[in-house]
Amino acid sequence: MLELRNIHKKFGELEVLKGVDIAVEKGDIVVILGPSGSGKTTLLRCINFLERADEGSLHFDEIQTEFSKASKKDINAVRKKSAFVFQNYGLFDNKTVLDNVTEGLIVGRKVPKKEAIEAAIRALEKVGLSDRLAYYPSQLSGGQQQRVASPAPSRSTRTSSCSTSPLRLWIRNLWAKCCK
């Protein structure tokens, strides 16, 4: 369960988040809608600590912290428990498709290599990319990159995921497939 209280975030003079509260239960699928520039991505980036919120508290399963004084350990723990699909898919250019998916599992979460590779191959099979395992992102089409990005953060131990592109709801469907 993920709960955020009273998030404030300012970029210079511009106050983007003015005390946002949000609670997401396990299994929920939540859509955040809004015009561009309204802070949807900023909110997600704050959850992942890619952007440091000025104020507010975070409660994520057993992690309980204030944004202003979260330790490096807390930050890393949150990042390991959550997943994030970037608008530009956030694929690592110097890693193959398979390595892109396993990187977070093996290095981030210390999942055994064999297990991680098995899981990654299963996930990639589901999005129809099992013939592209050894390809680099530069060799994929835009749509294929997008499909790598959806299994990339998904995994068996996944607890929460954020997609910064609300239009691509179908990614959700793919995730649902991946996680079955």
């Binding site: 997943a83 994030f84 956030g90 690592f92 098995e118 395992l133």
Partner: protein, 263 residues
């Protein structure tokens, strides 16, 4: 004007003996400078206040003076300073008996740190900052993110400049004769003055430098090809008439996963 071929041969043999010194003068400072240059580059990129400022001043000092002046200053000041220090501590040590090559190492290292820090800084700038964010967001520690994602990509952008710097350094080592280091230029100069065969001596080292620099360039070309493989992709032709292509490929990966060290 004739060229005395027998003499050329003689000089060449003498000069070849100086090649290890020239290479040492190039690669020891280069290796010593790499870690420092990288730290400075990261400090400047992440805008760590004090370190970034200090290194900026340092770089502008080094860039703002000719190498030959740095050598002259270093070679006249450093031994005297060291001598005063040794005397004041009452240590029995002959400062002026130190092999001048160590002074050369110091000058070239200080110089290379400044140059490489700029090379690395510009290379780090070429990597999209979203690559770092993506790495952090999947739970990699900053140091892992740099080592596994950012640096491999930055190195590709750095290699042409790295090659440039290395070749420049190799050529600059010819100035080490000012510190009476016996590199190939010093040997050629001594021989030339000894027998008044300037043309032959200088032609020989001219060619030796070309050969050495070409080798360095070939090395860096191969390195760049290797490092930038991800941009061109690797050839993976796994085709079968009956089986779908992906099946073989997936099996291959599983097989490798079992026996090969994953890197």
């Amino acid at each position: 004007m004739t060229i005395d071929l027998a003499y050329v041969q003689e000089i060449l043999i003498l000069v070849l003996k100086g090649i290890p010194t020239t290479l040492r003068l190039t690669f020891i400072p280069l290796l010593l400078a790499l870690p420092f240059a990288f730290l400075i580059a990261v400090a400047r990129q992440r805008n760590l206040k004090v370190l970034a400022r200090v290194s900026q001043v340092y770089v502008s000092f080094i860039r703002g003076t000719p190498l030959i002046v740095q050598i002259l200053v270093m070679y006249s000041i450093f031994p005297s300073l060291l001598n005063v220090f040794v005397k004041s501590r009452g240590i029995d040590f002959d400062v002026f008996g130190i092999n001048p090559i160590y002074y050369a190492y110091i000058v070239f290292t200080l110089n290379t740190i400044a140059i490489l820090s700029e090379v690395f800084r510009s290379a780090l700038e070429t990597v999209d900052k979203r690559q770092l964010e993506a790495a952090l967001s999947i739970g990699l520690l900053p140091i892992q993110a740099y080592r596994r994602i950012v640096i491999p990509q930055a190195l590709v952008a750095a290699t042409p400049n790295l090659c440039n710097s290395t070749v420049n350094l190799l050529k600059s080592t010819s100035l080490a004769f000012l510190m009476s280091v016996q590199d190939i230029t010093a040997i050629a100069k001594t021989e030339a003055a000894f027998g008044y065969n300037y043309l032959e001596s200088y032609l020989v080292i001219f060619i030796v430098y070309i050969v050495l620099c070409s080798l360095v360039q070939v090395f860096f070309q191969l390195l760049e090809q290797r490092l930038s493989r991800y941009k061109r992709g690797r050839n993976i032709a796994v085709k079968s008439e009956n089986q779908p292509e992906y099946f073989l490929d997936a099996r291959k990966e599983r097989y490798h996963a079992g026996i090969e060290e994953y890197s």
